[in-house]
Subunit: 345 residues, 3 copies
């Protein structure tokens, strides 16, 4: 961990405007609630504004709109959350993995593994696999034949990458991820399902992070594609033949059914589902738990979730939803009646 | 991979009617978008009809209704998707696994493993486990005591099967699947949860495919049962004591809560949830993201999802949903008023 | 397994009132449907009352309200399900694991492992990890540096616990669970996502059960906390910085987004989602598939799910939901019209 830095030194590296004592020493980030002297916190979500008054942090990062709310030494940034992200990276750098192949790893003699790579206990590297420089493969990972992993990528323990899939540089792939399992391709024939072989692969771009237990299926014929800079949270499911456009972020439990095409710079909320064979343009934001059932051609924010309520109220309203058709007909009848009155007069 | 075949040879094996040059040579399947000469594509979803005009495939499989839309050599089938599935199987056969037990696998001396079976690196086979002929157990799999796996079944790396569970023949089980973990049996007693031991097992029939990271819990007392020919996509959860009837297919993220009974030949859409202790008859189709909260006694298609919309529209309509009761009362008041008018006259 | 006990002996240990032959011998629990002589079943859910008439069980556990419905020897308890849970524990005790470290496990010399602990094949125990007495670590588990596991805890095969996380006593953690992967902390900056290092840990209390393939993310700065007695089903996702209060139970597929605070003694239904930065007080019950989008300050039951219906009905009603705003305006117009009539008179 790097030594302490003054606010002035931090600003010299990361930008931002220092207000107050620029010589205060900072050695780690902290939260508004728990930071102590020597730690720097941040305020981005106005919800936590009250904590600013009581924090014992040594300094804070905040936006121009809130800089007057504290007397603490502070760094003012137009994007305090991104500033804080870089600041935390400064104090918590990702180390270069200690190179070496554990004695219990099983590495095919036909795999390409540079001296700088690290392969932990029990990992299995298949025939023809190619690892980039400084790649780190966690314990118990399994890379199938001809898998390629780009420079500086890190797989945590228990990741499985099926044969033929390719992952770019600087990936961070968390435990339990499965990349390249068969897509759900089955054709019904006289009441029995016939399997459609899944002969495509999964191609993951550079700078992609994939959360724990997420699954990305290989393509039926062509490849499933995750473009550069995509960030996937935990327990996401990406179906076969999907494209997720560059710099799109998807929250936990969200899913994309087969052959959907998601644009760039989208955000998909937690537990949102994109149905199959749809197209979503760039810069679309899907709210949590929303089901997207047709293509979206215009950027914007889209939502659809039944509002929760006290159980008894929900029971009443849900029953009415199931009979909305009748309610609408009754309104129509009233309108006719009144229109008829007018005619009668 | 088998050598190239003419359309005539393909039709001789798989049926279908050849239209156009029956001697064109095909060596692999392809998609309408990316197939080249020597590859055969298919058209089943009318959505992709436009691609038929531009495809560079050497031939296509399609239905009688669309056979006139192209001049390419073609095979006409009443079920082009199932035909294509079999065609792809022809060019992409599943190999018989290379038999042998990896030196790093841990196989109990009390397990039964035929010479034809394959056990990959680091897999653990418990006491009393029985593997069928040509079974393939992927790296890092764990089979508990007395697990049985039928002939020709394949477990991809990192599958866990708890003690006492049985899997039929020709299963394909993808990475990260957990079969036989404890069901969620807890009884509340004075604010504390008391665990109900889960002493049943999981019984999986023949010809079942299970997608990556799916979980199937063991029964509380009796067994959880997945019947023959069931196809489960990724990240599905099957609760304890459930039965999934033969030839039912469930899409990703769908789930069945404890003690529900699902019929045969059902399809359960992505992220659909069947609540506990329900019965669903054969030939029921549940749409994606639908929550089934009571038993279904009639075959048919059932749906229930809040339609998505632009965020601002959703906000307005969702607020009204929460006050539907009041709207209905206002309509009733109007009806009374008008009925009263009539009486007054 | 313990020898058979008479109903009188069972009641002497666990309480309850015996009705009928107190000397009938019981050696195992069973379900109403499949129990045979020598087995004891239970009736808690009135839905299964009809099975009471046909059961071949040797005895049953039931509530005072139903004790007259059978002539079988029976134990009457105010809480038959909890009684049955303890009874099943009596006949199906969790064994103390056979101590010992498998020859293929990789245990850091800087880890603390008592003689009473069990470490199965291929498990990896990191530097500074500390295991309590009688801890059992399944095959292929991976404990990162400085992980602590309390006495009598059991990890099934293929569990991953990232560095620095701590788990209390008597935990039962099922296969595929990932504890301590990075939370989904990303800050947008000019269209690119900047990673926020996740330097907190996960702290799990005593007597916690965690279902298969569940994921619990480490905190951004402070820790993610699962308090004593929490029960988590399969495939749950707990985001960073969340607190789940003591004795709360969450069903399969449910999830809590980052920084939410869930009270004690809550129940969260299957596939329910709690959005981020919310507070939920103690004794809140969230129905299955409900999305909680704002804080809940009052105990009670909360629901919100679109009621399912036959597809055609749903189509009609869902379309009307998207135009509720217009329907409400039409009702308002009718009210105005009628009010205007009144004024005219």
């Amino acid at each position: 961990m790097p030594g302490p830095l003054t606010l002035a030194q931090i600003a010299a590296r990361l930008g931002g405007r220092v207000v107050g004592d620029a010589e205060v020493l900072i050695s780690q980030v902290g939260s508004l609630e728990s930071a102590r002297a020597g730690q720097i916190a941040f305020l981005a979500n106005p919800k936590y504004r009250a904590s600013l008054a009581t924090t014992r942090a040594g300094a804070v990062v905040l936006a121009p709109a809130t800089e007057a709310l504290t007397r603490l030494p502070r760094i003012v940034s137009d994007n305090p959350y991104a500033y804080f992200a870089r600041l935390s990276q400064l104090f918590n750098p990702v180390g270069i993995p200690q190179p070496g192949i554990d004695a219990t790893a099983i590495v095919s003699p036909r795999a390409t593994v540079p001296q700088s790579a690290r392969i932990e206990a029990g990992a299995v590297i298949g025939d023809g696999a190619r690892l980039g420089e400084r790649v780190s493969i966690g314990a118990g990972c399994h890379l199938g034949a001809n898998v390629a992993i780009g420079d500086d990528s890190r797989l945590y323990p228990s990741v499985v990458v099926y044969a033929g899939c390719r992952i770019g540089a600087r990936a961070m792939i968390h435990s339990g991820v499965v990349i390249g399992a068969d897509g759900f391709g089955i054709a019904e024939d006289a009441g029995v399902w016939v399997k459609v072989p899944q002969i495509g692969a999964v191609i993951v771009g550079d700078d992609v992070e994939i959360g724990a237990n997420t699954t990305i299926d290989r393509g039926t014929i062509d490849d499933t594609v995750i473009e550069d800079g995509v960030k996937l949270d935990n327990q996401i499911q990406i179906g076969h033949n999907v494209r997720v456009g560059a710099h799109t972020a998807m929250a936990g439990f969200s899913g994309v059914a087969g052959s959907a095409d998601i644009g760039r710079h989208c955000t998909i909320g937690a537990a949102a589902i994109i149905l199959g064979h749809l197209t979503i343009v760039d810069h679309v934001h899907v709210s949590a738990a929303t089901v997207i059932s047709r293509s979206i051609r215009q950027p914007g924010t889209y939502s659809g979730v039944f509002p929760f309520d006290e159980h008894a109220s929900w029971v009443r309203n849900a029953a009415l939803v199931r009979h909305l058709d009748e309610l609408a007909q009754r309104v129509r009848a009233l309108e006719k009646h009144i229109a008829g009155e007018g005619k009668d007069e």
